[in-house]
Symmetry: C2
Subunit: 657 residues, 2 copies
C-alpha cells in the first residue's frame, strides 16, 4: 500500500521543482559535464558537501565516539585474491540481456519483472479488478506502461504461473531466466526487440597494481573486507575483549551497467560501515540493551510482508527481541541507534521504517537482516542495512590464508577431554620411515576421531594398520604397533578458540543525504516558487545569513565587527548585500537552508541591537550582538531550540517583504 | 647541509623504536597483511584514523569556513578524455628500466642519480676531499654504498661531466637517459646487471566505466581537474565575483611502480586541494594580505639553492612580496595560512620551511611554485605544494570541449574598438553561394586583422578576392565586391571576457600526518622505553584516560558518573582499569598521545575530587569533577593551556610510579 510522496508540510511533491532547486543552488550535478557527463557519477557543490561533512561528524560522534568503536581507514584498491575469497568475484554480478539491435543492456531480472508485472496489470484491468499500486518509481511506471498493451486477459493458469514467477524470481539462475525469457517471449519493453540470453557481468571496477600485470585488483565493493582483514589489529587494540566494533567511513564502488534514479544508484559512493564482533555463545547480548529497551520502532517483519501487507508494527525493541521478532539484543540495539541517528540529522520519522529481509533476500550465511528504509519520491529506499553476517567472512579468510582469525580466551574452568590419539614413536619410526616420517606424523594428527577409533581396532586385530598418506610412494603406508600407538587419552583444555560473529550496520551516505533533502523541502503557503530547505541548525551547510538593510557605508564598521564575531564562534555565514529587498534576500537563501538571519538596520547603528530571523517560522527577535550570537551558537550545537529563544528574547514584529 | 633528525627534545631519533610504537599501538600497517600485504597501500588504525579526522576538521575550519571557500566533492573515477586534455595521459609517467634477470623495475632517473652520486662520492674519497652529506634517506645511502666500489678517482673531465649530468638530469628525455646509461655503463646498483633501455610507464590506475568497453577511465591523479570542470557552477554560486576559491578533500591515486619510504610514497592518498581563481589583470592581489603582511616565514629561494645553500631566510611575507621574491600577494597569503595551519595541528615550526621550485621543477605553465617542506627522518619532504597554474587548465578544457570556461564581466567604461570587418551581403550572396554561404560567412568572421587588411587592398585593386574556404569544391572561392564589403569599422565593447588564473595550494594529508607523528615523538629522560606522542589536545585521537586507582567495586558509581559526564561533553576517552600500577598505565597510554588523565582514588570517594594529570609534564592538579571537566574541555578546544590550569587549580604532588 504505497502512498504518494508528500512534503513535510503535507504538500504534493513536485520533483521537477525540487531538482531545479538542487541545480540552481549547486547542491549536485553529474560529473564531468563539459565532457558530456557520466551517468552514475555525481559531484557535490558547497551546500551538499558541507551537509555531508556535518552528517559525517554527527555519525562519528554518535557511533565511533559514543560507542567507543575502533575507527579504521582501509584501502579502496583491493587485490583480486581478497575478493575471490569473499565471494565477490563470483557473486557480485548481475545478469544482463543485450538488445542486439540497439546495444542497450538490460538487467535480466528487472526486464522479466517489468514485463510480467505489466502483463498482470493489464490482465487485472481486463478482469475489472482493482489495481494495487505497488510500483513507486515513476520511471518504472513508464516502462511498465510501455510494456503493457492495453487490457489483455490472461488464462487463469498463465496468471498463476506469472505470479509464481515473480515470487521466485530472486532464486533464479541466469539459465533459469534465459528459459523464462524464451518461454514467455519477453522482449525489451523499450524497443520490443528480442534480447540475447542473460550473461553474468561482474560489477566491480577492475584495475591492476604496479606495472607487471601480476597484481590484478578491484576497487572495493564494500569497506567490510578491509575491516575483517584487520581483525588481529583490532583484537590487539581492544586487549582481546569482545564485544568490540570497528567502523570505517569510506568510498566503495559498483560499476552499475545502466545507472538510474539519481543519487540512489551511483557508481562511487560513501559508506559508513560498522563491524560489531560478538562471541556467538554469548547469545549476542548487548551490554547497553536495557538503556534502549523501551524505545519504539516501526518494524515491518517478514510475516507481514508475506501476507502482502506493508504496514509496520510499532513495537518496543524490548518486546521485539523478547519475542524473537528481532533475532538478538545486539541487532536490536543497533536498530534503535540507527533510528536515533536519523532523528539527530533531521530525517522525518514518519518516513522511516525497518523492513526485515525476506529469506531469499539474505546472503546464504546471514542469520537475520533488517533494512532501515526511508521514504522519498522514489518510494521506500534501503538506506542502512543491518545484517548478522555470522562467522562467514573471518572463516573464509582464515581458510584461504592460513592466518589465525579467531579469538583465544582462557576457559573459566579448564575442561578434561577424553579422545583417541594416534602417536608416532619418533625414535623407532625414524629409521623405518625416513623422509616420510613428517608426512606420516602430519597425517596421523589430522585423522578424525571416528577413523582413529577404527584404526585402533585394526591395530588390535592385525598388529598393524595401513594409512593413506599423501605424497608417499603408492599413496599409502603400513605402520606396525612398534612405531605407532593408538589409544584413548585425557587432556586438559584451558583455552577456548572461536570465530566471532559479526553484526554489520552499513550506511549508504548518499542515499541518506538525498532522502534528507527531500524530507526537509517544502514551499511557502500560497507561493510555490518560494521553496525552503528546513535543515536542522546542527547540519545546515551555512548557519547564518548576514543582511544589511541596504548598501550603505554606514554599516561597514558594524558588519566587520559582526563578521569577526561569527568567525570567532566558528560559524559558517554568508553575507548578502545585493540591492534587492530583505524579503527577497531571505527567500532566496531559504533555498540553501540557512536557518538564521541577522539584519543590520539603522537602529543597529543607534545601539538598538540586531534582528535575528528564524527560517521556518520567519519570526524575528531583536537583541544585542552578544545575545544573538549566544542563541545562535546554542541552537547550532543543538543545545537550545528556537522556541526557547523566542521566549527569552523580545520578539520583533517587522515585516519581511 | 643536512642535519641528522632529532626528536622534539633534541634526542637522537631511533626510527626502529618509533616504527615499533606505531605498530604496537596500531597506528598503521600495510593493507591486506593476511594476503601478503601490498606495497604502497596502508590501513590506519584507531589512533591515526582519529588523528586524521581531527586534522581534517581543523583544515576545514581554517580554510573552507574561515576563507569562505566553496567545498566540492568530485568523482575519483575520471574519463580518459579529461586526463588526455589535462596532459596526464602523456605526462603523468615515469621512465623505468627493467633488470632483465630479476624482473625488478627501477626508475631511470633514480638509477642514474644513485649510481653517479656514488661514483662522485668515491672519487672525492679518493681525492681526500670532505664529503658533503646531501643524502638524507638511509635506504638511499645503502643503495649508494652498494653502487660505490670503494675510493675510485675519476678523470677531471669525467667528474665534470658527471656533475653536469646530475644538474641537468631533470631535463632529460627517456632517450637521453638511455644514452647516458649506455655511455656510462650504469647498472643496477642492487644486482650489478645491465638494464633494459628506459620505457615510459603511465602512473594512473586504469579501469573502465560500464561494460561496453567504450568508456575507458582512470582513477584521478589529483582532485584539481574535477574542480576546473566545475568552474561554471562555482562561478554561479559566487555570483561571478572573483577572486573565488574551491576546495576539495578527497583521494587521489598514483600507481607507483616500486613504492618505498612508508607513508611518504603511497598509491592511494588523501589530498586537500584549493583552487583559488583570480583575475590575472588584478595583479593577483589578495584582500586580506595586509592582515598577514608582518608574519615571518622561513623562505628558501631559488637563488640560494642555486648557490648550493639550503639555509632559509626568515623574512616577513610583506617584504618577500614587495621584493618579488614571492610572485604575488595571493601566493604570499597562502604561504602564511599554510604555516598557521601547520602550527595549529602541532607541527614543529623549526622543522618547516618553504622552498621555491627551481625553474626545471615547475610545470611549463606554472609561474611560481613554493613547497611547504617538513623535516623528518627521511629529510625535507614536500607536504604542500603551492603553485600558480596560470590559465592553463581552464584554457585546455575550454579548447577541448567548446564549453565556455571564462569570466564575463561588464567593463567599467565601454571601449571603442576600430577594426577591419569583412561582411557578406546575405541577400545578394545567397543565390550565388547557395549551400556554401554559411561556410563563407564563418570563414570571413575567422580571418585575422592582418589578412582582412590585405584583402581590402586586393578588393580595391581587383574588385574581387579569393578566399580559402574549408569544405567547398576546390578549397577556395571567389567573392566580388557585390557580395562582400571590407572596411574599417568602429564598435563599442561593454563586456570583458577572461580566463582566470589559478593559484593552487595542494596538501598531501598522509605526509603531513606522518611528519606530525615524528615531530611529537620523544622518550622520557633516562628511559628510552617510555615513549610519548605529544599530540596537542586539539588533535589528540583520545582526549582523556580514566584510571581508577585499583580494581574496586567502590569506584563503580563514581566511574559511571564520570563516564557519563565525559560522554555529555563529547570527549573521546579511554578507561584503563587493568591490574598494573597507575604509573605503568599512564606510561603505556602516553604512547597513544592521550593528553589528560583523570585518576579516581579513595579520596575521590570522600568527595575530595580527582587528580588531573598532564601527559608531557606529568604534573597533576586536584579538583572537583566540574572543575576538571571544564579545564579539559577548554584545553581540547584550544581555549586554555595547561600552564593556565596549573595556576588556577591546586597542584597535586602525588608520585606516579
Amino acid at each position: 500500500m504505497a502512498s504518494e510522496y508528500k512534503t513535510m508540510k503535507g504538500q504534493d511533491f513536485d520533483r521537477g521543482a525540487f531538482e531545479s532547486l538542487l541545480r540552481r543552488k549547486v547542491f549536485l550535478w553529474q560529473s564531468f559535464e563539459p565532457y558530456g557527463a557520466v551517468k552514475g557519477l555525481f559531484d557535490y557543490g558547497p551546500p551538499l558537501e558541507n551537509l555531508e561533512a556535518e552528517v559525517i561528524n554527527i555519525w562519528r560522534d554518535h557511533f565511533i565516539r559514543h560507542e567507543k568503536m575502533m575507527a579504521l581507514k582501509c584501502s579502496m584498491l583491493t587485490p583480486y585474491e581478497v575478493l575471490k575469497t569473499s565471494g565477490h568475484v563470483e557473486k557480485f554480478a548481475d545478469f544482463m540481456c543485450k538488445d542486439p539491435k540497439t546495444g542497450e543492456i538490460l538487467r535480466s531480472d528487472h526486464l522479466i519483472k517489468d514485463v510480467i508485472e505489466a502483463r498482470l496489470k493489464s490482465d487485472k484491468e481486463a478482469r475489472g479488478e482493482k489495481i494495487e499500486e505497488t510500483v513507486e518509481d515513476p520511471k518504472k511506471k513508464k516502462k511498465q506502461a510501455k510494456a503493457a498493451k492495453g487490457a489483455v486477459k490472461l488464462d487463469d493458469a498463465v496468471r498463476k504461473e506469472y505470479e509464481h514467477m515473480l515470487a521466485t524470481l530472486d532464486d533464479c539462475t541466469g539459465d533459469d531466466m534465459g528459459a523464462l525469457i524464451k518461454k514467455h517471449d519477453i522482449r525489451s519493453p523499450i524497443t520490443g526487440n528480442e534480447v540475447e540470453p542473460p550473461v553474468s557481468v561482474n560489477l566491480m571496477f577492475q584495475t591492476q597494481i604496479g606495472a607487471t600485470g601480476k597484481e590484478p585488483a578491484f576497487l572495493r565493493p564494500e569497506t567490510a573486507q578491509g575491516q575483517f582483514l584487520s581483525f588481529q589489529k583490532l583484537l590487539e587494540y581492544s586487549d582481546s575483549q569482545l564485544p568490540m566494533a570497528s567502523a570505517c567511513i569510506g568510498y566503495s564502488f559498483r560499476n552499475e551497467l545502466s545507472p538510474r534514479a539519481g543519487l540512489l544508484r551511483v557508481r562511487e559512493f560513501l559508506m559508513a560501515e560498522i563491524e560489531h564482533f560478538v562471541d556467538p555463545e554469548s547469545g549476542k547480548r548487548h551490554p547497553k540493551f536495557n538503556s534502549v529497551r523501551d524505545v519504539k520502532l516501526p518494524l515491518l517483519d517478514r510475516k507481514t510482508q508475506n501476507a502482502g501487507d506493508t504496514t509496520p508494527t510499532i513495537t518496543t525493541i524490548g518486546e521485539a527481541v523478547d519475542s524473537k521478532l528481532v533475532d538478538n539484543e545486539t541487532l536490536g540495539y543497533f536498530l534503535v541507534r540507527i533510528m536515533q541517528f536519523m532523528q539527530k540529522i533531521g530525517i522525518d520519522m514518519t518516513k522511516l521504517r525497518f523492513r526485515q529481509h525476506m529469506a531469499n533476500e539474505m546472503a546464504h550465511y546471514a542469520v537475520d537482516c533488517w533494512d532501515c528504509e526511508l521514504f522519498s519520491s522514489y518510494g521506500w529506499i534501503e538506506c542502512v542495512g543491518c545484517a548478522d553476517r555470522s562467522a562467514f567472512d573471518l572463516s573464509v579468510h582464515e581458510k584461504a590464508t592460513g592466518t589465525f582469525l579467531k579469538v583465544r580466551e582462557p576457559l573459566k574452568e579448564p575442561v578434561k577431554i577424553e579422545e583417541w590419539v594416534a602417536q608416532l614413536d619418533k625414535k623407532k619410526s625414524g629409521p623405518k620411515l625416513k623422509k616420510n616420517q613428517a608426512k606420516v606424523e602430519q597425517t596421523l594428527l589430522g585423522l578424525s576421531q571416528e577413523i582413529k577409533e577404527k584404526l585402533s581396532l585394526e591395530m588390535e586385530k592385525e598388529g598393524k594398520i595401513v594409512v593413506a598418506v599423501e605424497g608417499v610412494e603408492g599413496g599409502k603406508i603400513e605402520l606396525d604397533k612398534e612405531i605407532v600407538s593408538i589409544g584413548r587419552e585425557t587432556r586438559v583444555e584451558s583455552m577456548r578458540e572461536y570465530t566471532p560473529n559479526v553484526i554489520e550496520p552499513s550506511f549508504g551516505v548518499g542515499r541518506i543525504l538525498y532522502s534528507l533533502m527531500e524530507h526537509v523541502y517544502w514551499t511557502r503557503e500560497g507561493d510555490a516558487a518560494r521553496s525552503v530547505m528546513s535543515f536542522k541548525p546542527t547540519v545546515a551547510p551555512i548557519k547564518v545569513l548576514v543582511v544589511p538593510l541596504q548598501k550603505d557605508v554606514k554599516f561597514a564598521a558594524l558588519m566587520a565587527e559582526l563578521e569577526q564575531r561569527l568567525d570567532e564562534e566558528q560559524l559558517a555565514y554568508k553575507v548578502d548585500q545585493s540591492g534587492v529587498s530583505i524579503g527577497k534576500r531571505y527567500s532566496r537563501n531559504d533555498e540553501l537552508g540557512i536557518p538564521f538571519g541577522i539584519t543590520i538596520d539603522y537602529e543597529s547603528l543607534e545601539g538598538k541591537g540586531f534582528t535575528l530571523r528564524e527560517r521556518d517560522s520567519t519570526k524575528q527577535v531583536r537583541a544585542s550582538m552578544d545575545e544573538i550570537l549566544e542563541a545562535v551558537v546554542k541552537m547550532c550545537k543543538g543545545k537550545e531550540a528556537w522556541e526557547g529563544v523566542v521566549k527569552r528574547l523580545p520578539v520583533f514584529e517587522g515585516k519581511e517583504e
